[in-house]
């Protein structure tokens, strides 16, 4: 599978944040989007996921009936978790919502891979920022999708969790997956770098 963008332009609030950006990414490749705060890293991910109106083209080849939104895992700033529900309930819901039929891991196993095996029955409200982040990343494992769009996947994580998440990302790449990640610190994978310009 190949994800390519050409002449991608995204405006937010009347201001052009991304202007005429082109790149292409193939199977088993990782793109690290870097740049200063406000450079448009999150905006780029949102535009790729199809949440933001965009000019230019974003194409997936081979073409498919499904939209790009339906083929990506998007992990944004907001975790998308419901505080009153337990970790297990949240992930079971997300697995069902994002189609679990494609061979994702069981919830308990996915959590164990992120070092959260003990937290299945805890309400998300009781978790720390880093733990919430890991639960959000666990949904990458409970359902399989080919393209991962990750916004600061390593933020708020302690050193050992960063290692776990890197392993999971490397595992996805080795299975032929694509990753586009916004990052400040670098991912420590063999990634290409896309540097966005200065904040306007």
């Amino acid at each position: 599978m190949r994800l390519s963008a050409s002449n991608l332009t995204v405006e937010r609030g009347g201001r052009t944040v991304i202007s005429k950006l082109s790149f292409a990414l193939s199977d088993a490749e990782c793109l690290a989007v870097t740049g200063p705060n406000g450079a448009g890293k999150s905006t780029l991910l949102g535009a790729l996921a199809g949440f933001l109106p965009r000019l230019g083209t974003v194409t997936l080849s081979p073409a498919s009936q499904e939209t790009i939104s339906q083929q990506v895992h998007y992990v944004g700033h907001a975790e998308g978790l419901k505080a009153p529900l337990t970790v297990g309930e949240n992930l079971e819901f997300l697995a069902a919502l994002l189609d679990a039929g494609l061979g994702g891991l069981p919830v308990a196993e996915a959590l164990a891979k992120l070092g959260l095996g003990h937290a299945v029955h805890l309400p998300v409200a009781y978790l720390s920022a880093g733990q919430k982040r890991r639960v959000a990343l666990a949904r990458l494992l409970v359902t399989k999708r080919h393209i991962w769009l990750l916004d600061e996947p390593l933020a708020a994580l302690d050193a050992s969790s960063q290692v776990l998440v890197r392993q999971i990302m490397a595992g996805h790449l080795s299975q032929g997956g694509l990753i586009v990640a916004a990052t400040h610190a670098g991912l420590g994978l063999q990634e290409q770098e896309l540097r966005l310009g200065q904040a306007a």
């Binding site: 949440f51 998007y74 505080a83 009153p84 069902a96």
Partner: protein
């Protein structure tokens, strides 16, 4: 473990279960709606005075207006909660059509707000000297009519999803759209053997309004959500 293994695999069933669970676990939504309903009914009774004849005559209208206002409670959070915590982005990346997602969210919201109002209405009707014969018709009209209010409200909720304190704007947007349901709901609720209007014609129109809302509102709300996400 039993709770988790009981989770449905169907995306819409899982969404419905999640919203019902959330509503029950956060608490307050249902009981607060009924208390607000009770307060509105009581205030109207105080304002109109102790003339039982007048009260009995306008009781269906009071119950309907109070039900309409009470069903607005919490509607502004229908999509905003999902927008704030990022769940809305995930709903957009689902393979399930957003229209169906909206419909299921409305159903869950109605079960938590509209249904309890309809069930409580006959008891509050007794306070207003509503004739016994009309208790059932008020309940039936609210059962048939409140889904339309929730569905219409969903369009407003979708439009105001990124507006802080959008609750008032939501009310201003959707209350005028609720007028048809109000007219036919009150007409059917107030119908009795002695009155000129029969129960069936306005009631059937009320049902039709709800069915139309069930078709149109999810499409409109989904379109609004797609354009205002993030």
């Amino acid at each position: 473990m039993t709770i988790i293994s009981a989770s449905p695999k169907n995306p819409l069933a899982a969404l419905f279960l999640r919203d019902i669970r959330m509503g029950r676990r956060i608490g307050g939504g249902t009981s607060l709606g009924i208390v607000f309903f009770l307060i509105l009914v009581t205030l109207s009774a105080f304002a109109i005075g102790p003339d039982l004849k007048i009260l009995g005559k306008i009781a269906p209208a009071i119950l309907w207006i109070s039900g309409l206002l009470a069903s607005l409670l919490g509607l502004d959070r229908l999509f905003q909660a999902d927008h704030d915590d990022g769940s809305l982005d995930l709903l957009l990346t689902s393979r399930t059509p957003l229209e169906l997602i909206v419909l299921v969210k409305c159903l869950a919201h109605w079960m938590l707000t509209g249904l309890p109002l309809a069930v409580a209405a006959p008891f509050f009707g007794l306070m207003l000297n509503l004739p016994i014969s009309e208790l059932l018709s008020v309940t039936l009209t609210l059962l048939a009519g409140t889904p339309a209010l929730t569905l219409t409200g969903a369009v407003g909720a979708a439009l105001t999803v990124s507006v802080r304190r959008g609750g008032l704007l939501l009310a201003v947007l959707i209350l005028p759209l609720c007028v048809p349901s109000l007219i036919f709901g009150v007409a059917a609720a107030g119908a009795s053997e002695s009155s000129a209007v029969a129960f069936a014609p306005p009631f059937l129109i009320l049902c039709a309004l709800t069915l139309v809302a069930a078709v149109v509102a999810p499409v409109a709300a989904a379109a609004a959500l797609r354009h205002t996400s993030m």
